[in-house]
Symmetry: C2
Subunit: 102 residues, 2 copies
């Protein structure tokens, strides 16, 4: 019975990041999401993965590998929204120095 | 060394919900947050707490009790933003039937 509770807990907490990742991928809206949370959480899940690998504990490895992938997607989209990539100036200068049609 | 990694992992994943709870409490902005995620995650953390209590494993109990409190705060604020409380009609009828000052 206790193992069943543990399995349910692992499945719920791991798969709970699927709807969040889908929402962020679809809407690109991340205002309400804390960058600090996902940076800490992703680092923590990576540490759980190392912990599981050190023990050879497959449930910990599987649950945290999936969570790490999902949390990383959310973290990446959040970082892109907070620090949008600057349009490359190279493209801009090429356009401006093009010969003006006489 | 392995225990140290496990402790770091537990502290990071548990405390990562503090900045998210603070952000949501302060801004009440939850557009980017998935209600489905927090419903599943909170249920999952509750199951981890039951699991820890069944085993008498203090680290699992402590980590998940803190996470459950934080996740519940975020979930409650998200639910209130998705299903705002309807202004009670009782207050409205009392106002309309008040005697008009002659």
């Amino acid at each position: 019975m206790i193992d069943l509770i543990g399995t349910i807990a692992a499945v719920l907490t791991t798969l709970s990041f699927v709807p969040q990742a889908i929402l962020v991928i679809r809407t690109k809206r991340t205002e309400g999401i804390s960058l600090t949370m996902y940076a800490m959480f992703t680092a923590g899940v990576a540490a759980w993965l190392v912990y599981g690998l050190s023990l050879g504990a497959m449930p910990i490895i599987l649950a945290n590998a999936v969570t790490l992938a999902l949390a990383s997607v959310i973290l990446t989209i959040k970082i892109r929204s907070v620090f949008p990539a600057q349009p490359s100036t190279q493209g801009a200068t090429a356009a401006t120095s093009a010969p003006i049609a006489s």
